[in-house]
Assembly symmetry: C2
Homo-oligomer: 313 residues x 2
């Protein structure tokens, strides 16, 4: 198992990334390898500085860096030897089983869509995020930002993708799929949401429990929360801001600690040919470590192969 990690992506790269890799190296399976992609001399220097002497981190050179503010498509074309381009190149040649980066989100999305590409049959790969549940564990919400406008058939697929992910990566048996809406009753919501309701209801592959509301995010009504990327992004950022406000006020609680992006370390792109995880720009070493562990779980659960199988019929 080879987990590629962009050493140059993120506000605190490369230091925080290399530190995170060293943390993760102590926790991942002995058979797994973390492949740090970046300026070889810099990365090796940092590994030495942090006293790393193990054998499950390797380094692959990438002479260029895509900065956080760069235009995704242009940057990927103009910087073929950037850590993000090299990472997707490794994915394409099956030299890596997962690729993680806390760098330019747009470039990660463009790379995923145009390099490894969407699985055949998947209309619009979403970005998923984790939702802490009051009763413990996590649910999943998707999309949180890849697709602002979504047609009903796209939202229906989010329900299927989320269901498979929840089952195999989060180990939730028969995951409950809920449609984010402004009321519980059938017939509520926008025309797109109303049409989506009918499609999800008719879909025999998922356990659709109907509409859920903004107040149901953290309870047990649904394990998989379906919404468009516009709505999901607003929910995600609102939750992050609640965490920040509580943190600033010194109000601590184990449940709200899970609102911290560090807890899971990154958001997977679902429905592309391979395991791709996008980290937060401000990623700390702990966040990077958790992102690598998340990638490991995605690999061992064979989740993207399951997506592929589901749509190959």
């Amino acid at each position: 198992m080879r987990i590629a990690l962009d050493a140059m992506g993120g506000d605190y790269a490369p230091e925080a990334i290399v530190k995170g890799a060293v943390l993760a190296a102590q926790e991942i399976d002995k058979s797994a390898t973390i492949v740090l992609i970046g300026k070889e001399d810099v990365v090796n220097g940092l590994l030495k500085e942090y006293g790393y002497t193990g054998s499950n981190i390797t380094v692959v050179n990438a002479s260029q860096v895509i900065e956080m503010g760069e235009h995704p498509t242009k940057a990927l074309t103009q910087k073929p030897d950037s850590s993000i381009a090299v990472g997707f190149g490794m994915m394409k040649m099956q030299k890596a089983d997962a690729f993680c980066s806390a760098g330019n989100t747009g470039a990660m999305l463009v790379g995923a869509m145009f390099s490894v590409k969407a699985i055949e049959g998947i209309l619009r790969p979403p970005i998923a995020n984790f939702v802490p549940k009051l009763s413990g564990g996590y649910g999943i919400i998707l999309d949180v930002g890849a697709n602002a406008d979504c047609k009903p058939e796209v939202l229906e697929q989010f329900g299927e993708l989320g269901s498979i992910y929840a089952k195999y990566v989060l180990d939730i048996q028969n995951p409950k799929v809920g449609l984010m809406n402004l009321g519980e009753e059938e017939g509520k919501g926008t025309t797109v949401i109303q049409a989506t309701y009918q499609r999800l209801k008719a879909n025999a592959n998922i356990n659709f429990i109907g509409n859920i509301e903004g107040r149901d995010l953290f309870n047990d009504k649904a394990d998989v929360i379906v919404c468009d990327g516009y709505t999901g992004n607003i929910i995600l950022k609102m939750a992050e801001s609640i965490y920040d406000i509580l943190h600033e006020k010194g109000m601590k609680d184990p449940f709200f600690e899970k609102f911290n992006y560090e807890a899971e370390g990154g958001s997977p792109i679902l429905g592309v040919n391979g395991n791709v995880v996008i980290g937060h720009g401000v990623s700390s070493p702990v966040a990077i470590c958790n992102m690598v562990l998340q990638a490991q779980k995605m690999i061992s659960s064979k989740v993207w192969e399951r997506f592929k199988k589901n749509y190959s019929a």
Copy 2:
């Protein structure tokens, strides 16, 4: 000034409503009157029971009650002597300057739209809600549920209505109008949101500051937050659930206390011919009292007359 109050609407009506009216009677202007609408004998009995001896509460009889679960349009047609129908009747005949109810929200919306009606020129009256700000005071978010799908010209009007409301009712000079979106940059978001951005940017009557994100709800970027009713409803209910979770965990803080619906007591419908405020179904006496005080402020600020003037040109 006459503030009509539905004595029969809400999960704890009529007791909580009459108690709330008694509380409000001690705080409103001496010249103001609270008109309790409901079963006369019941309401008078409760006023006596609560020891009310003042002169600024009067009672208007309404022999019927629209229950919380009833179909709004049917109920209003079939129950012409219900407290909600009587309340809107008083508004229409200018026998009341405001109408407040914690009863059937749908019936309140239908009553507002078909009895007092939208102000000429207003496309789709929104429901507004208050957003507590970390720096103190409140902003306003609209729509929070009246219109799930909104065209760009409708969202543009929300910016205008919110701006007038923030200026005259919340006393915010030159209120900043922000468009809820998944990113700050111009060009982000759904096609409707992108088109709305251009309209708000070109609108000389408002102080448009651009896109805001889910993390900006509680900071000072915008005083008026524009979104469709689907998105606003999810945000509102998510905020309410955060309050409930904190409350249950015994985590108290003055800022988060403002997430409690009781603090402002109700959500005004903006852009109809008159001041109409919808309370939460679970309204307590304190919530009812604050809803009446909110109505008083709307009346004294002449906000709906200002809306009307704005669109009469």
